[in-house]
Symmetry: C2
Subunit: 161 residues, 2 copies
């Protein structure tokens, strides 16, 4: 189940985000980012939206945020980010978050959705986005310094809504 996040959800969201940000192997975020900065970044105010995925036991197992990718003449294209708790991978949580965000973007009137920087090494994310209708429309070579794989490409992925 996906629902809008509230500020009370933040501690659970942070417990998911902190290790992902710290590993710095999927997102181009500062791995030393502190909790206040992370909350400011992740908890997007309206007209954007932050969501949580809740499992059958009521535990928060994933989170997403979504917003206009650019202001002004680019504001008809949405973007989004997704994080799933390590212990809850391979259970469809990411897929549910992506599908919810695509639906939200369509209903909010966006014409397309774009991911600006998908690490090519993040094969499960690339596959998930492709299955959700996204195509790779750009590939920036060596733009992501992976802690184990060295410099890998960042993909720009896109779909119309």
């Amino acid at each position: 189940m996906i629902r809008a996040a509230t500020l009370e959800d933040w501690p659970a969201i942070w417990s998911i985000c902190a290790p992902i940000i710290g590993r710095a192997d999927t997102f181009s975020y500062d791995p030393a980012m502190e909790e206040d900065a992370a909350r400011e970044m992740w908890m997007v105010p309206a007209p954007g939206r932050t969501t949580v995925a809740v499992d059958d036991d009521g535990a928060i197992v994933g989170t997403a945020n979504m917003y206009a990718n650019r202001p002004g003449p680019g504001a008809h294209v949405a973007s989004a980010n997704y994080m799933v708790a390590a212990r809850s991978r391979r259970r469809g949580v990411g897929r549910a978050l992506v599908e919810d965000s695509v639906e939200w973007a369509r209903e909010a009137g966006f014409a397309a959705m774009q991911f600006n920087a998908v690490a090519e090494s993040n094969a499960s994310a690339v596959r998930l986005y492709e299955q959700a209708g996204f195509a790779t429309v750009g590939r920036v070579p060596a733009a992501f310094r992976h802690p184990e794989h060295g410099d890998v490409a960042l993909l720009v992925m896109h779909r119309l809504l």
Copy 2:
């Protein structure tokens, strides 16, 4: 002549930026952006840099800013933006700003430089960047709502340093 900008340069910089932002036909900025927000955005603090192009009479005829394109694992790639006064186009000002920024990025230790959102309709900018060694590595269809041309593509352009 290209030099680092100071806060005293801001009124001259704003006189260049304001009409470009307001026209909204090249940059994905909010065309209603007010002066304080524009100064905050354009006057990039160190370790980034903002420059001005000064002509023989001492007048500021162009400006650029440059910085790490992303934090964390993307911080080895620089990005930059350029604006030239309408009355000073076709005189090599843009070229001088681009070449200075590339040189700065190389000396600052960046491995590459990337432009995230070049409106494909901005043919003179695309040509200038190509002449400066940038290649188009991504093309996001219809991602820029041009006031006259309708939805045009945004290009991702890149070069190694």
